[in-house]
């Protein structure tokens, strides 16, 4: 692996390698990993605001003993109108790995073509966010010890959530049995469902009924209210497609509830203390997974 641009570029063996490496990183987290990337410089270039992704990449680089250079578009030559291509070429001359988030779709692919050093996609518009998918798969595998055969439900605004499309692909790759739960208006695009079925022979059900008795994993995302012209309609859907303690009464006692965060109304705070809520643990896993990705990229694997 050189660049990490899209989940579509990864085969099962690549994903397994990253997950195995991430498990090693998690064990070494506190001290032993320090020095693995000694003498290397990692640059985080975020053209869009981000808390978790940005900070966990920075934490990952620091844990590996790399030096960090943070790029600020608002006070750099980008503000003077410099093209992304020129900016990437310049930074490529200073550092060993580039981590890029950009509002335009395909920005990471473009940057990877331009740069000689590895480029890691930390989100390109509505397109891809591969390290999120990797950390989701890592979390599921860590909690459930496997992915194949697991009953995984994805719930919420499946039409607009980038996370869900990539995760569907990743879960299909590893043979999970997937249920898509959403309002009819917010169903996932048929294209990605068909692609996942054709590529991996995945089992995918679609429904608007929430039934968690059999589910091993419930992955929730928020309804993107800003995309609705009718705010009342959005509120109504959010009320219906939320996870509360009453709903969890009948759910599988071994259920793992995940969420890419930030969460708003779709999971009320009282759920946080339920032992099935695993989303903060999930967010924490962002560090070892991104350590693995940075390490493998910097070593040219």
């Amino acid at each position: 692996m050189k660049d990490l641009v899209s989940i579509r570029d990864l085969g099962k063996a690549d994903v397994e390698l990253i997950l195995e490496e991430a498990a090693k990183m998690e064990k070494m987290l506190s001290k032993k990993a320090d020095g693995l990337l000694a003498g290397k410089i990692v640059s985080t270039m975020f053209f869009e605001p981000s808390t978790r992704t940005n900070m966990s990449f920075q934490a990952a680089a620091k844990r590996l003993g790399a030096k960090l250079m943070t790029f600020y578009p608002s006070i750099s030559s980008t503000a003077k109108g410099e093209s992304l291509g020129d900016t990437i070429r310049m930074i490529d001359g200073y550092v060993d790995v580039i981590v890029l988030r950009h509002p335009y779709e395909g920005a990471a692919r473009f940057a990877a073509d331009v740069a000689e050093h590895p480029v890691i996609n930390a989100g390109d518009g509505a397109n891809q966010h591969p390290t999120q998918t990797l950390l989701d798969l890592y979390t599921i595998k860590k909690i459930k010890k496997k992915i194949r055969g697991l009953k995984v439900s994805l719930m919420g605004d499946l039409k607009h959530a980038r996370t869900m499309r990539s995760l569907l692909f990743g879960l299909g790759m590893f043979g999970a049995e997937i249920t898509l739960i959403s309002p009819i208006q917010l169903r996932m695009d048929e294209d990605i469902i068909e692609e996942t079925q054709e590529k991996f022979g995945a089992t995918i059900h679609q429904t608007s009924e929430i039934d968690l008795r059999e589910a091993d994993v419930l992955y929730v995302c928020r309804i993107q209210k800003e995309r609705f012209s009718d705010q009342y309609e959005a509120e109504k859907m959010q009320k219906e497609f939320r996870v509360d303690l009453a709903m969890l009464k009948d759910a599988n006692p071994d259920l793992a509830i995940l969420h890419p965060l930030p969460k708003v109304d779709e999971i009320p705070p009282e759920v946080d203390s339920d032992p099935r809520a695993k989303y903060f643990e999930q967010a924490k896993n962002g560090v070892p997974v991104r350590m693995a990705v940075l390490y493998l990229a910097a070593k040219g694997r």
């Binding site: 992304l84 779709e105 692919r109 473009f110 390109d124 518009g125 397109n127």
Partner: protein, 145 residues
């Protein structure tokens, strides 16, 4: 009575164009080549194969591969005849290509190729659809043409 259209001596005849799309093929070519010599567009000609078809005859222009690929997006079953000294020297069927590089713009306004100097590539994704190598969205040939 069938319409008589003059034969051309040097140039390209695009035959079996899907009826009604000939004007779009002509528009495409006029953006690509200087059409300074005779051009004939026959619309709704009778065809045994297609029922109706359009035909385009262009004197002095020899269609290259890139342009042939773009014609395929508009009319996937057209045939190209290259004419030299009044004879057909090459006959090729337009094929839907496996990939299209540097041929068309990406229709997604949020695709990076529309703001940076980047060559677009579209890969065939089956079912007559193409995926942009950059933004990874799917497009029909119609959308790309």
């Amino acid at each position: 009575m069938p319409l008589k259209v003059e034969k051309i001596a040097e140039g390209t005849v695009i035959d079996h164009i899907k009826a009604g799309t000939g004007t779009r093929v002509l528009a495409l070519l006029s953006n690509t080549y200087p059409l300074s010599k005779m051009v004939a567009l026959i619309i709704n000609a009778e065809s045994k194969k297609l029922g109706r078809k359009d035909i385009l005859k262009i004197e002095g222009v020899f269609l290259d591969e890139k342009t042939t690929n773009r014609v395929s997006l508009i009319s996937p079953h057209a045939t190209i005849n290259i004419i030299k000294e009044g004879k057909v020297v090459e006959k090729r069927a337009v094929e839907t290509p496996k990939s299209l590089s540097g041929v068309v713009k990406c229709p997604n306004p949020k695709c990076i190729t529309n703001t940076e100097r980047a060559e677009t590539t579209f890969m065939s994704a089956g079912k007559e659809r193409f995926r942009c190598r950059h933004c990874e969205r799917l497009f029909s040939p119609e959308e790309l043409a």
